[in-house]
């Protein structure tokens, strides 16, 4: 008998994948074809041996544990991948904490400047040297503060010098002048400039409106100036300008 049986069909018969009718026909053929019978016998032997490939390679117990841990803690599957987000998160939290601290610190420092102003006005003795004469006030600070500054000439302007006192900010002695404009009183606070002082504030030069106070600050000749009061911003600006001119 001349047999040219398709090996694909023999394989499908072996794997029990032929439709029932085709399988029956092939079974009948194999029953009377020695070549196909031998072929099937060989394929069965091969399939039987190949089945033992299952379990040929076995994972280590250590690897099994690693996979189990990976499933239980899905975010720890890769140490490198795990560390990067953790590091980024930690850095972000740290940055936010630092930024918040700095921001609050600055707010507090501006608030403290305003407090010095309010404290002076609320005091029974707002000024320690009572004088409208700048030539009286300026010398009064000699020996009380470790620096000197110029007081502008207020005569002929809308401003009136009421006097001065020594204040402390961040453990540094400074000068506080009280200047009146109409019914408003404005404080001029002068301290020796220092990096810590610069970093303590949200802005180092310019004017801001904070809690109903107008504040202007700048740095000149190694000194840090603050002009703070409830007068309008233009009055604060004018006073600041005259102080800047006097201390350039």
């Amino acid at each position: 008998m001349d047999c040219d049986q398709n090996p694909v069909a023999l394989g499908a018969y072996l794997d029990d994948e032929l439709p029932p009718n085709d399988a029956e026909i092939l079974r009948a053929h194999i029953g009377c074809c020695p070549k196909c019978a031998a072929e099937i016998a060989d394929l069965v032997r091969l399939k039987r041996v190949l089945h033992t490939a299952r379990g040929h390679f076995t994972p280590t117990a250590e690897f099994r544990r690693a996979i189990e841990q990976q499933i239980r803690r899905p975010h720890t599957r890769s140490r490198r991948r795990q560390l990067i987000p953790a590091f980024v998160l930690a850095a972000a939290v740290l940055l936010i904490a630092i930024a918040s601290t700095q921001f609050l610190h600055r707010r507090d420092d501006f608030a403290e400047i305003a407090d010095l102003h309010v404290n002076a006005l609320a005091s029974a003795n707002p000024v320690d040297v009572v004088s409208t004469d700048r030539h009286t006030v300026k010398p009064w600070f000699q020996g009380k503060i470790p620096f000197s500054f110029n007081v502008p000439e207020f005569a002929g302007s809308e401003f009136t010098l009421l006097g001065g006192r020594v204040v402390y900010f961040q453990q540094r002695p400074g000068a506080q002048l009280i200047v009146a404009v109409r019914q408003h009183k404005i404080s001029v606070l002068i301290f020796q400039d220092a990096p810590e002082l610069d970093q303590a504030f949200e802005f180092q030069t310019g004017a801001k409106h904070r809690k109903n106070f107008n504040i202007e600050t700048w740095q000149s000749q190694g000194l840090r100036f603050f002009v703070v009061g409830d007068a309008d911003a233009s009055a604060i600006g004018k006073l600041s300008q005259s102080l800047k001119s006097a201390n350039e």
Partner: protein, 185 residues
């Protein structure tokens, strides 16, 4: 997603997935990387897995696809480029190997395993899935994303190549596996 549930249903497949991965890669470290990647992807995508469908086929498909895109997978494919599966079926006549194939009985299991490791990966995987894992053609076809006819022809060709390797012919397209010695007659 419940990791405990995933562990309960996926870890029983661990040994056979590792075995299959080792058969594909031929290397313990590569196999471990592949299995680790498979479980990570499966865990991540477990939400999309529909309960009641074939978890084993799903996990094998993830493993096999991960293998194809891995370094060892790309290497294996580059050495297993063959003509189209259907092209040479005419040469696949049955009976041609039967007399020599009796050697199989003498050579033993290890020789068959070595020969299996020498098969190009696209034939090796089909033979493994059918004869080792006893998957149905339909399941294999779905997993590999090929028609059932391709599975059948690859299977026939893969088995023929195995038998050729076992019957005195030195492997022409040996992979990283040990080259099979020519059996003495």
């Amino acid at each position: 997603m419940d990791p405990e549930f995933f562990e309960a249903v996926a870890m029983p497949l661990f040994d056979q997935l590792y075995n299959f991965a080792h058969w594909l890669t031929g290397d313990r470290n590569d196999a471990e990387d592949l299995v680790q990647e498979t479980y990570a992807k499966a865990l991540k995508g477990f939400r999309s897995f529909e309960e009641g469908t074939n978890l084993r086929a799903w996990m094998y498909r993830i493993l096999r696809n991960s293998f194809l895109t891995s370094r060892s997978g790309l290497r294996a494919q580059s050495v297993s480029l063959m003509k189209d599966d259907e092209a040479d079926l005419s040469t696949l006549t049955a009976h041609s190997l039967t007399p020599e194939f009796l050697l199989l009985q003498q050579e033993g299991k290890q020789t068959v395993m070595d020969a299996l490791g020498c098969l190009p990966v696209n034939y090796r995987e089909v033979v493994l899935l059918c004869d080792m894992e006893e998957m149905q053609y339909k399941e294999i076809a779905q997993m590999l994303g090929v028609p059932i006819g391709t599975v059948m022809s690859r299977l026939a060709r893969g088995r023929k190549m195995l038998r050729e390797l076992l019957t005195a012919k030195p492997p022409e397209k040996a992979s990283k596996w040990t080259v099979i010695k020519t059996p003495s007659r």
